[in-house]
Amino acid sequence: MNAAYRRLEAASFRPLTEHTRGFLALVAGLFFVAGWGAYAWSLQLRHGLAVTGLNDLVPWGFYITNFVMFIGISHAGTFISAVLRLTGVGWRKPVVRMAEFMTIASLVVGAMMPLVDLGRPERILNVLRFGRLESPILWDLVSITSYLVGSLIYLYLPLIPDIARCRDALGDRVPAWRRRLYTALAAGWRNTPGQREALERGIRTMCVIIIPVMISVHTVVSWIFAMTLRTGWHSTIFGPYFVVGAIYSGIAAVITGMAIFRRAYRLQEWFTDRHFVYLGNLLLATGLFYFYFTFAEYLTIGYKLEPADKALLLELMVGRYAWVFWFWWLAGWLVPVLLLALPPTRNAWGVVTASVLINVGMWVKRYFIVVPSLALPLMPYEWALYRPTWVEFSIVIAAFAGFALLLAGLAKLFPLISLWEMEEDLAGEAPAREERPRVGRRAARKSGRVTRPAVAWGDGGEEGGAND
């Protein structure tokens, strides 16, 4: 074991065993916010959705916006992890675990939002008892459930060797229940060649399975809207439009999370500036794709200007929703893209700033996809009004707190960086080690190269990152 790996292991195990005062304060704060949201929800359960600003003409609002937002964030974990793993991109290794944690946390929170939105949450099981496959809600249920299960497996498989390390290394430094947990979850992992082989096969298979499931998730989320006859929703490109938007906001969320963890866990050595720049490149690319879809969407309705489309566009561009609309274009798209593209800001600081802006911007974007199409008059009446109440604000903010809590919980239980995968790379800096099966082996063989230790996880140079 070389020094680089020992440093990483120490840094990864430290948060598992030591809880700083800052962390405890943060958790307390998050619990307070989440508790406040729970209180708001309890009021809503007691008095019904009458406590929200929703009404007969705008029956969906903040909760559905938040649903789309969180399900969107859940895409980045898999996108970064599975896509980069399949294409054998080496620099992904330090960041995938955290991205996968985010997928799980955001899926759980996202899946809660429709439940909060239901008029009769206690009847949720009716969806199983009487479910009609003709309804897009069933598509969502099937798709999101598969994605959650798949993501859990996909998170768990590469975790096994690390859990085994926790089991073996942490010993008395963690309470007994966690030792038992590690022992159980490690599932008898002894790092035998047979186990390694089986694990790698499992991971590769999950990579291939999880990608189409991920794409299906936001596609069917968009179809909740696109399967209606509403102006603004009634669109064929909604599927891919939403998927790209999901990846765009998801990568931004991952970058934001990385910045926070880098500071809190002192991971500068592994979450390097280069990682931010690489992820920033991905973010820039999806941002441009997203522009393409958004542009295509608005141009195709804006060119023909059917009366209802015209009314919607006018309300978006110069009407009641103008400030959110232009806020997104500026803060959610233009400024971030410039930050990501222009050389002076192509650094960690610039990328993180862009990501934070995108996080906020994309929430707003979802809001003006969901609400104006509902508020648009269907009959000869005026634009409907929707004024979210403090209950809705509280629950939405609490959802973010709950997301952060879940993430913090996962990061407290398991190493935030994939130790065993990193060890393979870090081994390259040490005297030669015996050959080990590697995830990227296939790709390497195909390209005619012998497996070589990838150094591209960190400052491995431009080309090292692209293809291992």
Binding site: A50, D56, G119, R120, R123, L141, M379
Partner: protein
Amino acid sequence: MGLTRRDILRWLATAGAGTAAAAWAKGGAAGLLALVREARAAAEGRPEGSAHSGEGMARDAAETRQWVMVVDLARCEGCRTLDRPPQCTVACTAEHHVPFDQEWIKVYEADDHGHHYFLPTPCMQCEKAPCVDVCPVGASYHAENGIVLIDHQRCIGCRFCMAACPYAARHFIWGDPPELPQTALVKYSPEYPLPYRRGTVVKCMFCAHRAREGRLPACVEGCPMGALYFGDYETDLASNGAEVVRLSRLLQERHAYRLKEKLGTRPRAWYLPGHGEAFLGQTPGDGAGVQGGAG
């Protein structure tokens, strides 16, 4: 046409179902007269209810109906000359104890290229109903007679149907509905879904409960202008409470149209074009306008 209220009742009720269809099959106006004779005989000669042999048959016969609504825009002037709120809405609200400020038949004031008119809108009971399509639990469904009903014991309150309805016909029980003594003992049925349940969707149901009893919808009876007709595709008859007309002829002669036809929802509410001209400036209720329809 000399048809009494009771005749209409006969037609709506089960006794007329088979006969009327047969009569119409035989031919046109003569058929209507036959129906009237038949109905008279039934009304005079036999005691109430003996024309059919009980509950089961009543249901079967009722299910052969395909209810529709026809709105004569030439006769509707939003109850302006009465200086009262739209009476169809008022009647509906009273009949159903419609909670909160909902209006199940909403009368819009529309301006179309300078034409000013009033547009009463019940639920269209679309044949290809987006609300039914999207419901995840089958709580919104088509009854045999074409009416779109909601099972309030199954509805989960997702409001997808509200987002999907192109006519803004659906309403939600957002909070606790007021408890009314007169509805406390009503037995729930999707046709008359009292008492209302918080967190579920409600809307106009073409007064399915009244049709079952052979009565016209409350809004049709409540309209002082006779602007609302309740009809049936099967027997091809329609009535506004004052007259019985042949449905297909009424629709054809008055160039009936449906709202948002191009969406393909095939609504069961038809509109006869006009701008309230049949009544403007007249005293409603003097009968002048009512007789002038396309019988």
